[in-house]
Subunit: 504 residues, 2 copies
């Protein structure tokens, strides 16, 4: 191997620091960015710069200085996160929180499994102790469908809660967000707020009721984000609603609650964290996203990598690689469990503001189509299931091999965190090096499929997988190295699924 | 020099990662912590652990398992921050933000200087364009006093704004927070919410009106915190109000607004950022703070260093050391200006949740007493002035020489960021090494006093300085290495001020 020229030696911190300089403030140095306007200076020349938001709506009218062929790129980013409380036993404080808020009609949202665990026991004790009036909805479905979400909304609307309290994993917290949203908009059509192009993607233009989220898995980071995901069965698509106003008021992260996760759930949840971190770290920079919004309310939560999300995402990446194997291996390793819960939350803040891209976009048809009725080992559910985290991570080697050319420095910094000696990696080898590191990490965890073939997919399924991925515009628009032309994009996705059949 | 045993070689990241492990999860290893209960495991043994918040109020009743002589230590931390929008020109979006919120009585708070600058020009244009009804209060005082704050409150109460919009430095944003607070509590006594023991320190038990903050300096980070500071003249003390509910709804960080800062203001503001980062990074860990609150509403915003604040504080430290000298030297270095604004905001999130300690506690009497009517060069004000950032940084070499023994690893990691080769530093030399690095950094900036003697203080002033520091309990309680006994604490503070006479 010959020594690399552009690659920063050793310390990840220095790489990160330099990368930010390169990525956000200097002319293009990445081979794949041939467009000379692909990178922007932080502060463009003053007179032509001033971005004046227009009052009319619609994407095209937002382009003030640009012809339709050259939409204006984004120039700002916005960082929003729930308040986070972290501490073993902090679940018991929730009754006082509700009392402090003056709550007297609390909708406690959970699922049948969590309803029997220590988390719900602590919640009930705490609410009862403070004399809080509440009702429990425990019919949330793992990997919610529109039908299960509608069922939950139908329960919530007549009760008219003044506060929502979600106790569970991402499915529960996401369902509670949607219950809150559609209770506050009683006349809205179900598709009004669902992400375009599947739904109408309307912004949530008023504050919702307070939502407190108590996660019982260390995975989705849903306690900090404004995103809620579900299966829209008639469209055979995973979709959702994403707006800052959906985010919980407070996330109570209590490591005693995640201690109840079986090892398989720990692994799948932790792989979701890994991909949240890797995808948001490598998403296109916010200032390459188009179009610039015409009103700040239209700035998406998933806005591309930015200097604040970077801090969260990279930190979460380091923690996950360090602590996830320990957390799975040893249920008594409280430090590792606790650090994984923290990593999940920090990654949530990172991707909640930067977004995810290909692993997540491709995971939705993987989980949804499941052609051989695969049921993941260690999951005690009465139906076939490719857990979300598994479906996300299974394509990660192929995805990052593909995206590495868009930003070799960032991908190399990630490879270094996996323990790779990156001092002599050539730029053109970065993708392969990172892919191998991820594949090895997955293999070492145990019980992870060695590609989508192991989940029952064959080449005959690839077209359907591609068609199931294409509607995920919200995440695909953040994918580096993906081309604008839809035919070309289709080919790229097809190649990605083929390459994801087995890890090399 | 002999090689150090406990010190981590080179990469700051590794040090940080390891330090967190040491600090939060392992038995004591610091020489100054002889109390075996000084460090806590993340997850204590289950049955004795469960922290049950009590409903009765008062610090002593919070101690469930402890005798009065052994108050229970904190076991959780809470992270809250304003939403942050960052981008050059983003000030122009504020009219649409207000419109989106349905605002129709906006109190725009600024000061006479900022009222003539580009920031206020952009704000007026934006509000006028959207047809927002507003009034401007431009009489905010730099380094506010209770009288100027009362004046502002008296203006706000009859106007009864539905949204506050602060455009200016920390003084303006802090004043706007207090206008908001006391407008929402029209019957409150001025001292009700002021930090104890000077005021009654009542918690802010309901949400206030929305506050949007547009900082025009890169310093206080007030756009992200729930803290408001002012001089209480009758008590000759800097004090303030600190509660999460005071924090702005949104901080709009626009590098075009900070470009108008004179070099001297850039330097002083940036030194405030430096100390926010250093102090919050070295504050006592949250789980060594006593007492554990009896209700989460009583958990202070300044709760000690915690794993999330660490990420922010250390990142801000690196940015400040890298970019502040460039930002001061060259007003056209837009990258450095922009990075300093970002660092100020990130440091705000860090110290806003972890707190500051000795530099800030000691700065209040330094600024307030100013015995020789010192006026800092480059400040165009009609009265004597030791700028806040100058009064904070001037004691930093003495402070960190003193605190280093409490946690040599963290102090060494900080020294490394200043560019010191730390590979051969002995543990007992860490304080001196960091002090020298800070003193050199200050000297290289230019126009910084070489200690408090250069600000006009002599040994005859030390008693008054100590007495002016002692009431700052909220920050002193977070100071590492400070003793509980008030006589001993007095001696320690006296020594600190004497050592701060000149930088060694």
């Amino acid at each position: 191997m010959t020594p690399s020229v552009r690659v920063i030696p050793n310390a990840a911190t220095r790489a990160v620091s330099l990368l930010r300089t390169i990525q956000y403030t200097h002319p293009p140095s990445c081979p794949c960015h041939s467009n000379p306007n692909h990178h922007h200076h932080h502060i463009p020349p003053a007179p032509t710069f001033t971005p004046r938001p227009l009052r009319t709506s619609g994407a095209s009218s937002a382009r003030r200085y640009a012809t339709p062929a050259e939409p204006l790129k984004e120039y700002a980013f916005e960082m929003a996160a729930s308040s986070i409380r972290f501490g073993p036993g902090s679940t018991q404080e929730v009754g006082l929180d509700l009392k402090n808020m003056g709550a007297n009609r609390v909708a406690v949202v959970t699922d049948p499994t969590v309803d029997r665990l220590v988390a719900m026991d602590q919640v009930r004790q705490s609410l009862d102790r403070e004399g809080i009036s509440y009702r429990v909805y425990n019919s949330t479905r793992v990997e919610p469908k529109d039908s299960s979400v509608r069922h939950a909304i139908d329960w919530a609307r007549p009760y008219a809660p003044d506060v929502f309290l979600a106790v569970g994993g991402g499915s529960v917290i996401d369902t509670a967000k949607l219950m809150n949203l559609y209770s506050c908009y009683p006349d809205a059509d179900f598709l009004d707020f669902v992400n375009a192009p599947i739904g109408r993607g309307l912004p949530v233009d008023k504050p919702l009721k307070p939502l407190i989220a108590v996660p019982t898995t260390a995975g989705t980071g849903s306690e900090t984000t404004g995103t809620a995901i579900f299966d829209l069965v008639e469209r055979r698509a995973k979709t959702g609603v994403a707006h800052r106003n959906l985010k919980p008021t407070l996330g109570i992260c209590d490591p005693l609650n995640t201690a109840t996760m079986p090892a398989a759930v720990k692994a799948a949840s932790g792989l979701d964290v890994l991909c949240h971190a890797l995808e948001s770290w490598t998403a296109i920079p916010y200032n390459q996203r188009v179009p610039r919004p015409n009103n700040p309310i239209n700035r998406p939560a998933y806005q591309g990598a930015n200097p604040i999300s970077d801090v969260f995402s990279f930190h979460a990446l380091r923690s996950t690689i360090k602590y996830l194997p320990r957390a799975i291996r040893n249920p008594d390793d409280h430090e590792a469990q606790s650090e994984m819960l923290l990593a999940a939350t920090l990654a949530g803040v990172g991707f909640g503001n930067a977004g995810v891209h290909l692993c997540h976009g491709m995971s939705y048809p993987i989980s949804g189509q499941n052609p051989t009725q695969y049921r993941h080992p260690g999951y005690d559910v009465p139906h076939p299931l490719i857990p979300h985290g598994v479906s996300v991570a299974v394509t990660a080697p192929a995805v990052f091999r593909f995206t590495a050319a868009s930003n070799p420095e960032r991908h190399l910094a990630a490879a270094e965190v996996f323990g790779v000696d990156v001092s002599r990696v050539r730029k053109e080898d970065v993708g392969a090096v990172l892919a191998d590191a991820i594949a090895k990490f997955l293999a070492d965890l145990g019980d992870q499929p060695n590609g989508i073939k192991a989940l029952g997919f064959t080449s005959a399924d690839v077209d359907a997988l591609v068609e199931g991925t294409l509607p995920q515009r919200r995440v695909l628009m953040l994918a580096p190295a993906l081309e604008d032309d839809v035919q070309r994009e289709r080919e790229q996705l097809r190649a990605l699924f083929e390459n994801a059949m087995t890890h090399h």
